[in-house]
């Protein structure tokens, strides 16, 4: 199997049996899937389905099978998007075996899904996951009795701690041996079959549970109860939450920023000392295109990799420990009024470091309206790249005291813009589902698990974003360097001309043609705004020289207007790229870019014109 993520899904592979994993959300399906397949999965592009399904080839004692992870569902007859996806999948794809994954400690309610699958008449097998928790909470299960009553093989496993996996593989092989290749069936009349049996289901569950399962006389998870008493405390809960977030944030950027700098220094060295001499004999335009354009593009993409990796390590801890749903509980009252939920808040906060991983992280939310609205507000989080620009501008135009106030004001505006956006658009991207979230018991995250996940995210980003970003970077480089022979980013270049052209629009907000070109640079990434300004002003020698040149041409009112615009418009090309790949909607992506431009212009306009009226110059 190739690791190629963009190849169209190989669905289904002829001659190979099709095995799907079905289960409720948070039963450990993904964990099981990656343990079984050793992370060789790729995202299949299933025709007619709007979501990505994880698919991998599995070698079972010599027989090759395709394993597909379906989205977690509560009820085969449910009304959510994911539930519809699973139904459509079962109706349109011949399946040889369904692996039903249930949380053993919650078998009291999850058994229902197993009964539903059995109702469909598909060959199936039940894996009771989280054996460790069932034991800890005192849930006893008589496997033989359960298997006899369900008429399905039943195994107890612990995916996270790799217990019972070999037996599970063997059981899958054995179940498949009964069916010859190509015997897979699609489900006909799925709705009708389920509807007919709905009432019997409830009646059937009771006796099975009574015969095969013993529940503890009282709740046994004292640890979770004790922790919740503090972490969800009416007064202390929120301060603890903010403290945790602040620590996490500090950790990510204390480690990530030096790694980022080291990486870009490395690429810079390579470009200057290896690439530049090698290209010395090439025509100057071409060699500049490669060293400044292409290498800059690759540098821009790779600069995000360390932060994305660290972010997902941290996110993994917060999510796997069970704290993410507690955060949702704590912030929900506030976020509900904005049409969002507590998880969007956590992600927006993370966006203050870097917007890109925060947007990738919206995948924890399953409702598409909620995801889109979150993606719309995250780009307003003042990320560390923008902070760099602001720190520089503040030091040029203000005393340290004033500068601190300006920066603080920008942070407030960042929150304000996000809240305003949510309030304006919550009607359009309404979350179609009521928020009913499980609060799982606290769990200790394990390193291999969060490590694997972070690594997968980095690969995912690298794969999807690099093309998009390279195009953008190269395009803008061409804008700055065409027509042939102009000084880069000068008034004669295409972007210089664009700056002139946009004057009727940008003069009312105090942005002169040169600053416009800087904004064009900023569209790629805020990291290169300062470098861009240095090129535009021809002051690449030192930052203080650039500061002088800037201050001699631009007033502080203009500078603030520039900062306001920089804060609010499109954070960077990478953000646009991930919004595009995550939302899968071009229209939404354009809307998001456009809205941020409009808001940026309006805010800068109000500020600049008011300042003008008051007489600040």
């Amino acid at each position: 199997m190739t690791h190629c993520l963009d190849s169209a899904g190989v669905v289904p592979v002829s001659g190979q049996a099709m095995v799907t994993v079905v289960g409720m959300p948070n039963t450990g399906k993904s964990t099981l899937f990656s343990q079984l397949t050793a992370a060789h999965a790729h995202i299949g592009n299933w025709p007619g389905l709007t979501v990505d399904l994880l698919q991998a080839e599995l070698n079972l004692e010599g027989r090759r099978v395709q394993l597909v992870d379906l989205p977690g569902i509560y009820d085969l007859r449910g009304h959510s998007e994911d539930e519809a996806v699973v139904r459509r999948f079962l109706e349109s794809t011949p399946v040889d075996l369904v692996v039903i994954t249930l949380n053993a400690s919650q078998i009291d309610r999850q058994l229902r899904l197993a009964l539903q699958v059995r109702q469909l008449g598909l060959p199936a097998l039940v894996l009771l996951n989280m054996a460790d928790e069932a034991r800890r909470f005192g849930v006893g299960i008589d496997l033989d009795e359960l298997a006899r009553r369900l008429e399905l093989p039943v195994l107890l496993i612990s995916a996270k701690y790799r217990q019972g996996l070999a037996l599970a593989r063997h059981a899958i092989t054995k179940a498949l041996a009964a069916s010859p290749p190509g015997a897979g069936r699609m489900v006909l009349d799925l709705e009708a079959k389920l509807a007919a049996a709905d009432d019997d289901l409830a009646a059937a569950m009771g006796p099975i549970l009574q015969a095969a399962v013993t529940f503890p006389a009282q709740w046994r998870d004292a640890l979770t109860r004790r922790l919740d008493r503090w972490l969800l405390h009416p007064l202390l809960g929120l301060p603890i939450f903010f403290l945790v977030m602040a620590l996490m944030f500090q950790a990510i950027y204390a480690l990530g920023v030096p790694m980022q700098q080291a990486l870009s220094a490395l690429i810079d060295h390579f470009s200057r000392f290896v690439l530049a001499p090698a290209l010395a004999s090439w025509p100057p335009f071409l060699s500049a295109f490669i060293t400044d354009g292409l290498v800059l593009g690759i540098g821009t993409v790779s600069a995000f990799l360390p932060v994305i990796f660290l972010f997902f390590l941290a996110m993994g801890v917060v999510e796997d420990s069970g704290y993410l749903s507690r955060a949702a509980f704590l912030m929900d009252a506030f976020m509900e009024r904005l049409g969002l939920d507590g998880r969007s808040f956590v992600l927006s906060l993370m966006g203050f470091g870097c917007n890109v991983p925060a947007i990738l992280g919206t995948r924890v939310m399953r409702s598409s309206g909620l995801r889109l609205l979150s993606m719309l507000i995250i780009p307003f989080s003042l990320c560390s790249a923008r902070l760099n620009v602001f720190l520089f501008m503040a030091s040029v135009f203000f005393t340290p005291r004033q500068g601190a106030l300006v920066i603080f004001g920008l942070y407030l505006l960042s929150f304000g813009a996000a809240i305003l956006t949510a309030l304006l658009f919550k009607g359009r991207f309404a979350s179609e589902e009521s928020l009913v979230l499980e609060l799982p018991p606290y769990r200790l995250p394990t390193l291999p698990q969060i490590w694997g996940r972070a690594w997968a995210e980095v690969r995912h980003f690298w794969f999807w974003a690099r093309r998009f970003i390279l195009f953008g970077v190269v395009g803008i480089w061409l804008l700055n360097n065409l027509p042939f022979g102009v000084a880069p980013a000068s008034a004669q270049s295409l972007s210089g001309q664009l700056g002139e052209l946009l004057q009727p629009l940008l003069a009312p907000i105090g942005i002169n043609p040169r600053l416009t070109v800087a904004l064009v640079f900023g569209f790629i990434a805020k990291e290169i705004v300062l470098g861009g300004l240095a090129v535009i002003y021809g002051q690449t020698a030192s930052s203080s020289a650039l500061g002088h040149a800037l201050a001699s041409e631009v007033s502080w009112v203009q500078a603030v207007s520039f900062m306001l615009f920089t804060l609010l418009y499109t954070p960077c090309l990478s953000t646009v790229a991930v919004i595009r790949t995550e939302s899968k909607r071009l229209g939404f992506t354009l809307f998001s870019v456009l809205w941020s431009l409009v808001l940026a212009w309006l805010v800068s306009f109000c500020f600049y014109q008011l300042a003008w009226l008051v007489g600040w110059r």
Binding site: Y74, D75, I107, R109, F215, S434, L437, E438, L439
Partner: protein
Amino acid sequence: MVAALAVEPGLRHRLEALGIKPGQSLKVLRRGWWSGPIHLQVGMTELMLRRIDAARIQVFSADPSRAAP
């Protein structure tokens, strides 16, 4: 104890899958600040539910000291 669910079918499926169905007993563990969500225990599962949704679950009290959500 849950008496009845007066909710639209989508949410009813969800709630029933999470174990909230007529005849089932549930326990309110806490309520969030500022009319925030409610933290419930149903069988072996703990979950949070917004008040507007919780208000549609009709319950009768098994324990008089605990008010219905």
